[in-house]
Symmetry: none
Subunit: 538 residues, 2 copies
């Protein structure tokens, strides 16, 4: 059976830039556009040329893509012709094959926000679309606040769509701009638009996540007949974000009733790179990936409940709705207090350690993990530290070096002008290949600002590892989490450190002590040792 | 018009604990249960008594709640009677008014995961429910994998429900355990169950967010007739999490077609505390609040796009689907500072500071709070530090003493037997009443164990405050949380310290610095100063 084509429109570079705290550089935009093209979306909305320098520069530097590069802008303002509107001209001058023009369809917005008459607005829509079509562009009309507009005055809202459609727009995009329309209503209104005469195969859907329903609203519109879905990678976007394409793409590709009915143009191979795409975007934006993200989150296939973990070992489909590898993700069975030896073997295998069922180290590893969890360690996320504990018992952990001692000093005083200044200093003494290595580091960064004692310690520790130095030069500390927890009856500090390296690996280690500096030191040490093991240092 | 009752069932303390990296202590469970009760949910599922020590301890320490406290467990195992199943006995022995028993309804799981016959499973369900009902409990039956089971064998899945219903279960909860069923199908299957004879007012819905549709699936089930909604605060839960009650509660209370049709029992006042509840839970778990969270996220009402921001100033309804204050959240308009003065006055009043509407300090306090939040401070829980910022601007904060300098040393070395030992030492120099006070403390506790640098610093700081010493003798540090966050473009450390005193007061203070010791020192100082203010020191 031939599947019907369903088009994907990505607005990460435009609506995604409205995320609080997100500001793309031109180079980042180019990199993301390439990634989107490799993923296989149909349209890439690159920005609003003329609205800000980055967007204008992007269109000048825009990469060649198979996807249709699209410039965003708004319909001409009232009181001037489409030809004489310099904002519209800026959009068309970007020279993209497609342009997406946003216009009002909600009477209240026409009169309140624009302050023009309802007829003037319809004229602006019709003339702007016709003008862009006359220049040979594929035109999309973004019907802003369409669902609210329909509820306020369905006739007027529909007339706006019809004006764009009659003027030659290829797509009419129904936007739930404020994100307040629930999926049921989105489906019903989309069906009504089709019933009134605008065919579903020119309709697009653009939702926001203000009620946590952006994905469901998009699916409801597709079920009602819309054939273009707009969204952003990782659900970036203003307020609560746009419909998350990272969630929608696998849902449309893998789940019924969509999978057998629609072809989104995303290949299986591209789909299996989805988790990577999601993580790379977070890396570009220096955001911590959301563990609980559907399909691509680090926890999306993590089975913590004891009952689930044991059933998963019998048959993964018992507690997984899709095969994690289809989206490039992986199953995780965290060590919890109920976990048994078979979980342990599975987890060791994931770390590349094949251990026979009757290996006598298995019960001792399990015991040590349990004892350590009782002391406050947590191995849910700190897989690298878990692996080191196991390797130690399996006799697969060389002693690369010895820590003889360290000392950290934190000082705060007033400078000659009476301003408080602080400074940390760390001394670490290691024994590497029988040689005593003394290293000292301060906590000052390139700008002369104090970055604190853990920073000083981390630098002193990584300063001179002798023969091993070359393995750790591309390492960096990317996250650092501290919490007070119970170790036996005493409160202890648990530090979890995330590290990354030049090969794109990211790993977590844990340290526990009543002394936060000690706990940090332990996690830092584990991070370095894991890296040496993985890189095959000897 | 009378609205129909829709029941809310919270499982934060049970399913929420399956979140990777989340491990509640008993005290935290008690605190969260109280918070849920204040919020006004109908049921609080406290855990699985007998499954682990924390859950058992919680039921022994469970607070008195208006909400029905519920113990979770599973139906009896095959081959023994309900009376002789010690797992079931453990659940009933917790003595809660309600019990929720999970059982299989999917033929594949009965034969593959349990390895028993289909009839044996139905007998287990019927007898377990009947046994709990006979003990006078309100019984909920959690129909695990119900939607997948229905798709595989609707007759068998229905027979499982019917067995529980006939045995006297008050609620039959339809669970989409693997989270793979889309909202459309959830609605259809729920309607089919009702059409087959189990009334909607005994049906509950329990969804997971593996396709990003947990909220939409819950809404679809309610529209189809289900009358109990299960979920967790902040969408905690295994894998991608459970249906997010923090999203569902305002949607059901404020959005149509739900708001005018259903009464969830949540008062307007409780609803206006929802953002606070969400943040406090994150604080307890030391998680970074999700900015883009619907309704309660810090970005949920942030208007970054220039067009949106200017329209918002004309009329907020142009780009907001609800009024942010209804859920205790606030509008954020970058470049505009007019939001929040009335919020600020309300918060000052809570701290006992009545400030007139036209007090010129109000805008400067607001500015400083916003500037500090930009630097990484967070005042959601650190009410005591917030109060000190305000008092400083209001001229209501005496300078009790001056900090001249401090120095902390952390050392780790090997003792004479080659064992690693660590020790911290802190020196603090204060100026009190014109007198220079030098204090030094070590980090060793009464047992001679190192408690770390913050402990040493805290003791040195509180060692000799001269005339103020008597005010702080009953103070102690009860919790200490550290998080890496962004301050401007740099990563900084945020420390939140909870202190308590002999009068039973508990207060939180915050410090921010790239240097964790500095950040801790700032929070410790605030804690002492707040105590001096509150106790009327002069």
């Amino acid at each position: 059976m031939t599947r019907e084509r369903l088009y994907l429109y990505d607005t990460t570079l435009r609506d995604g830039q409205q995320t609080q705290g997100v500001q793309f550089s031109t180079a980042e935009k180019v990199r993301i556009a390439r990634m989107l093209d490799d993923l296989g979306v149909d349209y890439i909305e690159g920005g609003w040329p003329g609205a800000n320098p980055t967007d204008s520069a992007f269109f000048e530097a825009a990469p060649q893509t198979r996807a249709r590069m699209t410039a965003f802008g708004m319909t001409k303002r009232a009181g001037r012709s489409a030809e004489n509107d310099e904002v519209l001209a800026g959009v068309l001058n970007a020279g993209t094959p497609a342009v997406c023009l946003v216009g009002k369809t909600h009477d209240f917005h026409v009169t309140t926000a624009l302050g023009i008459t309802l007829d003037e607005n319809i004229t602006s829509i019709a003339q702007s679309v016709a003008h862009a079509v006359a220049q040979g562009r594929e035109v999309l009309f973004d019907a802003e606040h369409f669902f609210d507009g329909w509820k306020a005055d369905a006739d007027y809202a529909f007339d706006c769509l019809k004006a764009a459609h009659d003027a030659g727009a290829r797509w009419i995009v129904l936007c739930d701009t404020n994100g307040g329309t629930l999926p049921g209503e989105i489906g019903e209104i989309t069906a009504s638009v089709i019933a009134r005469g605008i065919p579903g195969d020119v309709l697009g859907i653009h939702t926001h996540d203000d009620t946590g329903n952006a994905v469901a609203g998009s699916l409801a519109a597709v079920q009602a007949g819309a054939r273009q879905v707009q969204g952003t990678l990782n659900g970036l976007g203003e307020r609560c974000g746009n419909a998350n394409l990272t969630t929608l793409i696998p849902t449309l590709a893998l789940k019924e009733p969509f999978a057998s009915r629609f072809d989104t143009g995303i290949t299986d191979k591209a789909l299996s790179g989805l988790t990577h795409v999601s993580r790379v975007l977070d890396d570009i934006l220096n955001r911590v990936p959301l563990k609980s993200a559907p399909y691509v989150g680090a926890s999306a296939f993590a089975h913590k409940a004891g009952l689930h973990a044991s059933a998963i070992l019998k048959d993964p489909t018992t507690y997984e709705h899709i095969v994690p590898e289809t989206v490039g993700n992986a199953r995780i069975i965290p060590m919890s207090n109920q976990a048994g030896q078979s979980n342990l073997r599975r987890r060791l295998a994931e770390a590349g350690l094949e251990v026979a069922r009757d290996n006598p180290a298995l019960p001792t590893i399990l015991d040590e993990i349990k004892t350590r969890e009782g002391q406050g360690y947590s191995y849910d996320t700190a897989q690298a530290s878990f692996e080191l504990v196991a390797r130690r018992h399996l006799g697969q952990l060389p002693e690369f070096f010895k820590v003889k001692r360290y000392r950290v000093t934190v000082e705060r005083r007033r400078d000659e002008k009476g301003r408080p200044i602080s400074l940390s200093e760390a001394v670490v003494v290691l024994l590497v290949d029988g040689e005593r290595k003394l290293s000292v580091s301060e906590s000052l960064d390139a700008q002369g600002n104090d970055r604190g004692p853990v920073n000083a310690l981390s630098r002193a520790l990584a300063k001179d590892l002798g023969t091993y130095q070359r393995y750790i030069d591309d390492m960096r500390l990317v996250d650092f989490k501290v919490r007070i927890t119970n170790g036996g009856t005493e409160a202890v500090t648990r530090v979890i450190i995330d590290s990354a390296d030049g090969q794109g690996r990211r790993w977590s280690t844990v340290g526990v002590s009543p002394n936060i500096v000690d706990a940090s030191f332990e996690a830092l040490l584990d991070a370095i040792i894991w890296k040496l093991v993985r890189d095959g240092a000897e």
